[in-house]
């Protein structure tokens, strides 16, 4: 722990810290461009110069390149250093187009800040400025190359950190150019990070283009709701509209980066069809009447048909507090415990994942530090994109990645791929957990596991199911020893799937609810931000069950199918409009703060024109309430989030840290369960000859919230079917052919894609919402299917 003196202040920093970071710890602002906490320092911009007065190095040095050492005496304010930095910024500004008024970076531009900090104000050089032609970089990023100061941050972000290959530095000499070889959309699903990382306005947010200034935005620390990883985000809103999302910084999870699904999936909040008024049979009613009606109808049904005639359905989309209060409501009504999740298979897998002891649970930071990552049935880019980025960092640090999956799992790094049938995956995991020998095909895996010091086993709840998830956790426990830690991580479908599963404990699941609905026993269903009509795989049975209901109440903020059918619709706020807590897939509780108050966006109410020229005391579309607040009123509890959190923490000892949680922090792990992990049994599965149909998640288009976001429209994939080349040869199918897929009663015609990097005997279709592939659900056991060629390309 070296101690050094910077500007007459003494500071002690950990070994390996550079002098620039040490100065930042003291709160000293030193201009810099090329240094970034996630990318490190390269000493290219020459802007962080300091005068080293005493110690191992002396003279003018770039502080980002000098490691802090004992006895250093450094000055940032020495006249030589100030003059040096002033000259550097002056030549960085030589070719800048001075177009800050029309630049979206204006106000949050590091170049502006550093220019002011270095004291440069007038361009003395009278020569002509260098100019460039721009490129079209796709729907997310706007390119304005004239603003570039050649700091190389974009290349280091895109190529080094994110593993993209289609963007880089071109040209030589005075003609350095940062772009693609040709115009075209950036291929990396992490390209949006260029917006945050570019210190000037070269790469700016295209959907947000010319929308607002940074200082006008309402911002608050929040959590990304688009997968179960729970990355820290900072959404920004103005004029009642969520306008952009930028990355927050949670060192335990996402670092400074987020994926494009999280960055551009926000627009569901502004959806024009979003429910905004309480509706009883399609008629608008005031809030107090709506809540009274709900309670009256439920109590009346209980009186007539008994307490098991009503069912409550929570979800992994709703906050932990709302889901808990649903439980309180069921206790108050005397009905059965709520069901959490409209997909029984996914719910069971999530419940299995909650049994993992905290000390065995891997965070993304653990994944980044791992030396062997075993992916079994997990497709990070589809099910939790930031995990793919964390895995890439592990590979950059010398780690190995082994993938056992029926799908062609692609990652932005080098991997070792072993094609496995879904049932082989389960056998592999149960063999690992029981210490049995693995088939010869998987021998490289055994050797790698023996050598690894910090292995992490990662599974996908969808493909593994509850049985596989239990086996994965048991395998991690088996491989974990005193000499080395073996951690596990399970990818879950929704942002709060873990929290919902934790509350569900041993409660009923959706299959039982479906059976009860079909038998006509259930007369009323209350859905809390859950849409069984889009998430339940057994659509037929569900529709029959819904027919038999007397009363359907829906709390939701999405224009969902179930909301359209509801007798009583109670509009709730979206995540950015309220406060609450989510528990991510590793069991980390994270609080989020309200960013803005709900309301119909001004863009929609005034149709792009100026706001109305009349005054009104009400805000259009401002009626949605936070789900937990509505439920607290229904339960006759005070509408106080802190009290609810305290109560929840006393009810559920695993959530002990909940009352102290802050939205600003990096979250807090839940406590381990006191019961030991359940042991998996040896699995015997029979070999199937027919082609098996497997539905899986995709990066864009599968997740429910981002499916309602218009900035993602241009990148949503079209329906397709993926076959192994060997199967395609056997069936006489070539890539691009139209094929007919018959599975159960469903028949579809789809274009075929071929791959040799997948398990043979498996047919893969993506789960794409609002397409004909909507009816194929991930998280289901694979089903036999037939594929026939219809016509050639």
């Amino acid at each position: 722990m070296p101690t050094l003196i910077i500007d007459n202040q003494s500071v002690t920093v950990p070994e390996g810290t550079n002098v620039l970071e040490a100065a930042q710890q003291l709160g000293i602002v030193v201009p810099h461009f090329c240094y970034h906490e996630a990318l490190g320092a390269v000493g290219a911009c020459r802007l962080c110069a300091m005068l080293f007065i005493d110690g191992p190095v002396k003279g003018m040095q770039m502080s980002c390149m000098v490691e802090a050492k004992d006895g250093m005496v450094v000055s940032t304010e020495a006249p030589e250093a100030v003059a040096y930095r002033g000259q550097v910024i002056e030549w960085l500004m030589l070719n800048h187009p001075h177009d800050c008024p029309v630049c979206d970076e204006g106000g949050e531009c590091q170049l502006q800040d550093m220019t002011v900090a270095s004291g440069h104000s007038v361009r003395r050089y009278t020569g002509k400025k260098r100019t460039y032609l721009n490129q079209d970089l796709g729907p997310f990023i706007h390119h304005e190359m004239n603003r570039c100061i050649q700091c190389y941050r974009c290349v280091r972000t895109y190529q080094d950190y994110c593993g993209g290959t289609d963007y880089g530095v071109l040209g030589s000499n005075q003609r350095l150019y940062f772009g693609r070889f040709q115009d075209g959309p950036l291929e990396s699903p992490f390209a949006g990070n260029l917006i945050d990382l570019c210190p000037t306005g070269v790469l700016t947010n295209k959907p947000y283009r010319f929308t607002s200034r940074f200082w006008d935005l309402q911002e608050a620390p929040s959590v990304c709701p688009h997968c179960s990883l729970g990355c820290a985000t900072i959404p920004g809103a103005r004029f009642r509209e969520l306008q952009r999302v930028r990355s927050g910084n949670n060192p335990e999870i996402n670092g400074c980066f987020i994926c494009d699904r999280g960055r551009f999936g926000y627009d569901y909040v502004n959806h024009s069809d979003r429910p905004r008024t309480p509706l009883l049979h399609g008629e608008e009613i005031p809030w107090n009447e709506a809540l009274e009606t709900l309670l009256q109808r439920l109590t009346k049904l209980i009186e007539c048909h008994g307490s098991d005639s009503i069912a409550l359905l929570g979800s992994g989309r709703a906050s932990l507090e709302a889901n808990y209060l649903l439980q309180r409501l069921s206790e108050q009504l005397g009905s059965a415990a709520p069901v959490y999740g409209s997909h029984a298979g996914r719910d069971r897998a999530a419940r299995a994942a909650t049994t993992l002891p905290t000390e065995l649970s891997a965070s993304l930071a653990d994944v980044r530090n791992s030396d062997l990552i075993l992916l079994t049935g997990a497709d990070p880019l589809a099910e939790g994109p930031m995990l793919a980025l964390a895995i890439r960092q592990a590979v950059r640090n010398g780690g190995r990645v082994m993938i056992c999956d029926p799908r062609p799992v692609e990652l932005p790094c080098s991997t070792e791929y072993l094609a496995c049938q879904p049932q082989e995956l389960l056998q592999l995991l149960s063999a690992l957990s029981l210490g049995e020998t693995l088939p010869t095909k998987l021998q490289p895996l055994v050797e790698a596991l023996q050598l690894a010091q910090r292995p992490v086993l990662i599974g996908g709840g969808d493909l593994l199911g509850a049985e596989g998830t239990t086996a994965l956790l048991a395998a991690a426990q088996k491989l974990n020893s005193e000499d080395r830690s073996c951690l596990a991580m399970v990818l879950l479908p929704e942002a709060n799937s873990f929290g919902a599963a934790l509350l569900a404990a041993d409660g009923p699941d959706f299959e039982q609810l479906l059976a009860d609905m079909a038998s006509g026993r259930i007369k009323a269903l209350v859905c809390l931000e859950a849409d069984p009509l889009t998430d339940c795989p057994d659509r037929q049975q569900l529709l029959q069950g819904l027919e038999q209901l007397d009363f359907l109440a829906v709390f939701d903020h999405l224009p969902s199918l179930i909301a359209a059918k509801a007798d009583l619709l109670l509009p709730t706020t979206a995540l950015a409009e309220g406060a609450g807590t989510l528990i991510n897939n590793e069991g980390r509780m994270q609080a989020f703060a309200p960013v803005f108050s709900p309301g119909q966006p001004l863009r929609i109410t005034s149709q792009g024109n100026h706001p109305p020229r009349s005054f009104s005391t009400t805000t259009p579309g401002a009626l949605p309430c936070q789900a937990w607040a509505l439920l607290a009123k229904l339960c006759d509890l005070p509408v106080d989030l802190a009290k609810i959190r305290r109560e929840l923490a006393t009810q559920e000892p695993r959530l002990a840290g909940l009352p102290d949680l802050l939205a600003e922090g990096s979250g807090q792990r839940i406590q381990s369960a006191d019961k030991p992990l359940s042991q998996p049994h040896a699995l015997i599965t029979e070999q199937v000859d027919a082609l098996q149909l497997l539905a899986c998640e995709t990066l864009y288009g599968s997740e429910v919230l981002s499916a309602h976001s218009s900035p993602l429209d241009p990148v949503r994939p079209q329906p397709y079917l993926l076959l192994h080349e060997l199967d395609a040869d056997r069936l006489g199918i070539a890539a691009g052919d139209l094929v007919r897929l018959s599975a159960g009663e469903i028949q579809l015609t789809l274009p075929a894609q071929l791959s040799d990097r997948m398990a043979a005997g498996v047919v893969i279709v993506p789960h794409l919402r609002r397409t004909e592939l909507e009816s194929f659900y991930p998280g289901q056991p694979s089903q036999p299917c037939r594929v026939e060629k219809v016509s050639a390309l």
Binding site: T131, F210, T211
Partner: protein, 176 residues
């Protein structure tokens, strides 16, 4: 001595009043009579146009950021040719204190203060002016200034076509 001073203090003002009784008055009977302010007088703001007759305002939000009473609001939008313009621009003159900080902040010389000072009104809503009300058809105090001719992002002139710019570089050449 104090007594003398008090007597002087009592009568001197009367003397001053009496003297001015026979001079031409400095005040005028507004609003029957009106005084023409000097052309550079700084009363209510206007939105001027560039030499090509296009709106100078690029909706950069600097005026609304500088405004001490928050009376300016706007929304930027992109025109088909890439020019940034205000989709709407609103100033509430009921709140405006005519401090001129908006004109000082304006980087494109769009906002200038005009000599028009008569905004008194019985309906507060008539004091909320939109872009159409504020736009004038001249360039104001500096008619030749053209923002896009100085900041090179290829809107008014083609890329690299401004006087202080070199043509776009050829990034595929290897020559030194």
């Amino acid at each position: 001595m104090n007594l003398w001073r008090d007597i002087k203090g009592t009568f001197q003002p009367f003397w001053v009043t009496l003297r001015y009784l026979f001079k031409r008055p400095v005040t005028i009977s507004y609003p029957e009579q009106k005084r023409t302010p000097p052309p550079r007088y700084r009363a209510r703001m206007i939105l001027t146009r560039d030499p090509e007759g296009e709106e100078r305002c690029v909706a950069c939000h600097l005026c609304s950021a500088a405004c001490p009473v928050d009376c300016i609001s706007m929304q930027a939008a992109e025109r088909e040719d890439g020019r940034r313009q205000a989709a709407w621009f609103r100033i509430n003159f009921a709140r405006c204190i005519y401090c001129g900080l908006c004109a000082e902040a304006c980087p494109t010389m769009a906002i200038q203060m005009s000599p028009e000072y008569e905004l008194g009104n019985r309906d507060p809503l008539k004091l909320v002016w939109e872009k159409e009300d504020l736009l004038v058809d001249h360039g104001g105090k500096d008619p030749n200034y053209h923002f896009y001719r100085h900041s090179g992002i290829g809107v008014a002139a083609p890329r690299g076509g401004n006087d202080d710019e070199l043509p776009p570089v050829n990034i595929k050449t290897n020559l030194p």
